[in-house]
């Protein structure tokens, strides 16, 4: 749908560039040679298991941490050197932070508005995030989801060019999560670039133009959600109960088939669309009937698990 921006126009400078990023804590590498570029107006997802280096990477982008090595540019700015300029164009939602216990929602919104030269209308943001009824509530009395929504509002209040959201919808109920996704899409449609760290596959699949899958401090894969699914082995799953046994030799010869499995008389084959057609031809040739035939796409979940599984274990 936005394939043109995803491919990247060589004339457009990426708004976020990360190259050769390394960061170790106590000699243990947490980020180990990460490189990616985000185009303007893109929602770029960072996905990965806990401890894969996602948060450390975005904290380096935000200028909160100093990389051991590597080059980072956000709109041409170096997050460490050009910190002052960067804070004016970057909106941030941190994974873990709080506000003053007794500060009300309204006071927080007004306070953070005063930090930026041309802030957004905080009332509009509060309304979109369902905080209008909570304006006089103190931060300490908000529920986890309300705090989260307030932090999303604060990340957007300075009309940033780039917004970094670390665990955007953690703690939100399904309804609030969907409302937040819509808000982020609208934000992107207004030209803002979004760097999104997430645990939720559904969120990544729905929102992200491209996703970098992190594994042990490196990027294991970087593609569109559809691309990640397609390129994972066994992107399409065909399963059926054959009317009589199918020869294993024939199955092994199927084009682009990644794996097959017999279980309780049911045959499951993982492959691609080509495999599906070949299976149908094979069955027709041997006059085998496929009972309860199902063809399903594997999900981003499957792709993610395959990319991040630990092969050593």
């Amino acid at each position: 749908m936005r394939a043109d921006t995803v491919q990247g126009d060589p004339r457009i400078m990426p708004i976020i560039e990360v190259n050769g990023l390394r960061k170790a804590y106590g000699g243990r590498p947490v980020v180990d040679g990460v490189a990616f570029a985000v185009e303007e107006g893109e929602i770029f997802g960072i996905l990965g298991p806990n401890g894969a280096g996602k948060t450390t990477t975005v904290e380096c982008v935000e200028g909160l941490r100093e990389p051991d090595a590597g080059i980072i540019r956000v709109a041409g700015l170096d997050p460490r050197i050009d910190r002052d300029q960067l804070t004016r164009i970057l909106g941030v939602q941190l994974q873990e932070s709080e506000l003053q216990e007794k500060l009300t929602v309204r006071e927080a919104l007004e306070l953070y508005s005063a930090f930026y030269p041309a802030p957004a209308d905080w009332r509009g943001l509060a309304e979109r995030l369902g905080l209008t009824g909570k304006l006089t509530t103190r931060f300490g009395r908000l529920s986890g989801g309300q705090k989260q929504r307030l932090f999303i509002a604060l990340a957007l209040i300075g009309r940033p060019k780039v917004v970094v959201l670390d665990e955007l919808t953690t703690g939100l109920d399904p309804r609030a999560r969907r409302d937040t996704w819509k808000l982020i899409e609208d934000v992107r449609d207004s030209g803002v670039t979004v760097l999104l760290v997430t645990h939720f596959m559904e969120e990544a699949q729905r929102l992200c133009d491209r996703i970098a899958v992190f594994k042990q401090g490196r990027i294991a894969a970087l593609d569109t959600p559809a691309g990640l699914i397609d390129h994972s082995a066994g992107g399409t799953v065909i399963s059926f109960t054959p009317s009589r046994p199918v020869d294993d030799g024939d199955l092994a010869g199927l084009p682009e088939a990644a794996a097959f499995e017999h279980r309780d008389g049911r045959l499951t084959i993982r492959g691609t669309d080509t495999t599906v057609n070949a299976v149908i031809t094979l069955l027709a040739r041997h006059q085998i009937t496929a009972h309860r035939l199902r063809v399903t796409d594997s999900t981003l979940d499957d792709a993610f698990l395959e990319l991040t599984q630990d092969r050593e274990n």
């Binding site: 804070t87 970057l90 941190l94 932070s97 709080e98 007004e110 005063a114 930090f115």
Partner: protein, 246 residues
């Protein structure tokens, strides 16, 4: 409205929502002075104190007590909490430096202590006929240096302790000897000579002597002012040197 003004305004609101801090800083020194002043013998001239009354000595002591309450009792847990709870970190991603938040809190605690000092001086004058400070510039200088020392000590406590819990514990440990040095139990001027000789080199012992001399109408000894200023300088340097933003 500039960003720093907005921060100061917000922090003032928050400060006004802390009744316990306000009580200990603003009300307690005045209440203590009132209680002491109600003891009849404290209102009698004492030849052992060069003809001064005990209550005369306790006005500068309670002025210092206000500073200690603000700087060592109230301030450190606030600063430490802002750090521990990621409030400073969140602010450091905005165009406003988190130092603005710390500055606002220090300024507000100083202002509250100053207000408390005025209250103590006014109660001393109106209720117990304690003369107003005889040497006003000297008194103000001693008061400012004492306040600086108290706030710097609080900031230094925050700097060397990683968590709110540790800050509160260390703050309390520091708090009691500082009250003693300031003369809350025995005014410095009424201490035995040997003890006084030692206490005079502590941050609030020196400030207490300087305030007392200025209250009596003379310019405080440079030694007392110098000791107070040196403590403030060392503590500020320690706070700056060891403070961690996260």
């Amino acid at each position: 409205m500039s960003a720093s003004t907005a921060v100061l305004k917000a922090e003032l609101r928050l400060f006004s929502r802390e009744p316990f801090s306000l009580f200990w800083i603003v009300a307690f020194p005045a209440v203590l002075l009132t209680i002491l002043g109600l003891i009849p013998s404290f209102r009698e001239p004492d030849p052992g104190l060069g003809g001064s009354r005990v209550i005369d000595l306790y006005v500068p002591v309670n002025v210092l007590l206000a500073m200690i309450m603000a700087g060592i009792q109230a301030l450190p847990p606030v600063l430490s909490g802002y750090r521990e709870r990621g409030i400073l970190r969140r602010m450091s991603t905005t165009p406003v430096r988190p130092a603005a938040l710390l500055t606002a809190q220090i300024v507000l605690h100083f202002a509250a202590a100053l207000f408390s000092s005025l209250l103590v001086i006014a109660i001393g004058r109106l209720a117990f006929d304690v003369a107003l400070p005889g040497h006003l510039p000297g008194y103000l200088l001693a008061l400012l240096l004492g306040a600086l020392g108290a706030l710097a000590l609080g900031a230094a406590v925050t700097a060397v302790t990683p968590t709110v819990k540790a800050t509160t514990v260390v703050g309390s440990i520091v708090f009691f000897p500082m009250m003693f040095f300031a003369g809350v139990w025995v005014p410095v001027q009424a201490m035995p000579e040997v003890l006084r000789g030692i206490v005079e080199y502590s941050p609030f012992g020196a400030a207490s002597q300087a305030l007392h001399q200025a209250a009596e109408g003379g310019w405080p000894d440079w030694t007392h002012l110098g000791v107070t200023a040196a403590w403030a300088a060392v503590l500020i340097a320690a706070a700056v040197r060891w403070f961690r933003w996260e």
